[in-house]
Each structure stands twice: as structure tokens, then as C-alpha cells.
Subunit: 184 residues, 2 copies
């Protein structure tokens, strides 16, 4: 039995990331799950225009995308609740910098990308930053045979309807492969 | 030890969806994991310009977003491997239509959104369709206390580095809540 529950955006779960930028000379991080993939080299990051980070991203034209692991959930959620305009977030995470210099990354995060902003898609209430990763940093131990292994990264996923964080489950099939078993 | 693995788009895992449209008068579906959230009401769907579906989406200015469950993995992957220009996809899934009339949805899918295209963000090789859900249809049994429950929906997630499909794991924390336990 199909039920129409109205005009609900149900595109979840989405990966949770910590977006880093420099605002007023200091590293700042914000928690974002409204992300997307534009093409193979381009990512979208949607942040409400009221956010403190947007000013820094527009000034620096850089940002970082850091993956919190499951065991960083308290800090990650904290960063999502409180604005950098009200609380000092410089001490929550130890930062490191790469080639871009103005995209602080989180040492504790197993996977970080430093990105250049290539465009901003403007909407009335949100800045959609379109960014290209320039360098991707990871801890050795999240690689399997040289490839990023999300089971080891332990990403956090988010859904808006129940506002929960989820763990990633098991890999269960190979893409562009299992479909060949299909029979009409 | 941090390792720089280069300019890698590592924004995964992403939810896998089946995008429905009418092409040349027939329902057609394509598998997409390069999706995103633009704002609370708007979703992005990125499809390579070579895809058969793009013509239909541009003509109809509608599309549907359907969630395959784990047990639809073979059909879902099949639809992602073979183009609707080469194989007839009308018989793979039984379709139903809603208010928009030109956005075929998949009966077997526990969660479907019929959407209007509100903009196309153009890139050299990809059409990024920005769409707003008009109606969201789900099976009664994927609701818990009236809310979409992704544990019951059993979405498929995808990562590009290892090209695998993943199951969703357990919900383990409440967003905008657990962060209040943070102590400096």
C-alpha cells in the first residue's frame, strides 16, 4: 500500500562531513550533511547563509572536507549545534594545513580533502559552494590495497526525518558487475 | 601518519537511487549515486550528458527518485550498466504514476519521490538536474511513528574507490542532541 506523505525531501542517509575554513584569522569547522557530487571532480556543500563559515569560505575561496569517524560523534554534533560566532572552535580539533594554506584540516579525521571553490550556486537562503579537491589526505590504516576503505574510515551518515546518525553497514555487492546476473 | 593520495573525490558513501523518466513515450530508469542536497526542498541529480535519460528529463521537466532496497541490487546494477537506448527497460520494474503524470515510479521501491526540474546546472560533460519533490510515496511498513525509517527502507550506498554497494548500519546517536555532552 503506497502512502503519499507530501513534498518531503527523502534523499538520505547522507555522509556527515566537517567543513573547515579560516574565519577572522582562525580555523573554524561546521558540520554539514547537505552535500552532493556534481561530477567526478566536483562536490557541492550547502550551508545556510546565516552560518559564520560562509564569510570565511568566500574570502579564502578554499575549504576542507573532513570525515568524522563514529567515535568523533560528540564533537561533530557539538560543532553542528553551536556557531563559531558564539563559541571558539579552535581548540576542539587539532588542525593541519596542506598546499592551499587557508583550508584547515582535522588531524584526528582519517580522511580530509583540501578544496578550491570553483563556483557558488546561489539560492535565497543557502550558499551552495561547488568545490574541487586539490589534495586528499588519509591515514595509512584506512587504505586496503591502496584504495580508500569506508569500512575502516567509519563514516557517519545522517537522516533528516528522524535526525539520527547512522553507521555504515557491510559491503554486499560489486557495482557494474552483479547486474550482469540479471535475467528477464 | 597522513598520506596525500592526490586530487581524489572521496565524498562517499552516497545513496543509490533509480531515476525515472519518460523517454520516447516509454518509462526508463537509470541508476545514479551522484546526487546531492541543495537545500531543504531541492535535490541535485548528476547524469553524464551521454545518457539516454537526459533527453526525456529535459522534455518532461520531471523525474522520479526511487530507492532500491538491498534485495533489488541485481536489477539496480543492471539498469546502471546498460543504456535504455540499447535495452528495453520498461519490463524490469512495474511503474506507477502520480500527480505529475510524466515521472514513472517503481512499485517495488519502498520510497519514491516525483519531482519537478527547477533548474539545470550545466557542466561540460554532465547535466546537473536540480529538482523539487512534489509528492513522496512510501510503503506503510517503512514508517515508524509516522516518520521514514531508513533501517526499514534498507537503502543501498555506493563508493567509487572500491565500486561497492553497502548496507546501512545501525543508528547510534541523536543529531542536535549528543553534542551537548561535549566538555572542553
Amino acid at each position: 500500500m503506497k502512502k503519499n506523505i507530501g513534498a518531503i525531501n527523502a534523499l538520505y542517509p547522507m555522509p556527515v562531513v566537517l567543513v573547515g575554513t579560516v574565519v577572522d584569522g582562525k580555523p573554524n569547522y561546521i558540520t554539514i550533511a547537505h552535500v552532493g557530487i556534481i561530477d567526478m571532480e566536483t562536490i557541492s556543500i550547502s550551508t545556510n547563509k546565516t552560518h559564520y563559515s560562509n564569510k570565511g569560505i568566500k574570502e579564502q575561496k578554499t575549504l576542507s572536507i573532513n570525515f568524522p569517524t563514529e567515535d568523533m560523534v560528540v564533537e561533530t554534533d557539538y560543532v553542528g549545534i553551536f556557531s563559531g560566532s558564539k563559541v571558539d572552535k579552535t581548540q576542539i580539533f587539532e588542525s593541519f594545513y596542506g598546499e592551499l594554506k587557508t583550508a584547515p584540516m582535522i588531524k584526528k579525521s582519517p580522511l580530509s580533502m583540501e578544496c578550491e571553490v570553483v563556483d557558488i550556486y546561489d539560492t535565497p537562503n543557502y550558499d551552495i559552494f561547488l568545490v574541487k579537491p586539490k589534495n586528499t589526505y588519509c591515514n595509512d590504516e584506512v587504505l586496503t590495497d591502496g584504495l580508500l576503505d569506508y569500512k575502516k574510515i567509519k563514516p557517519m551518515m545522517f537522516d533528516m526525518p528522524t535526525r539520527r546518525y547512522w553507521k555504515l553497514g557491510e559491503a554486499f555487492a560489486q557495482c557494474w558487475s552483479i547486474g550482469k546476473e540479471y535475467k528477464e
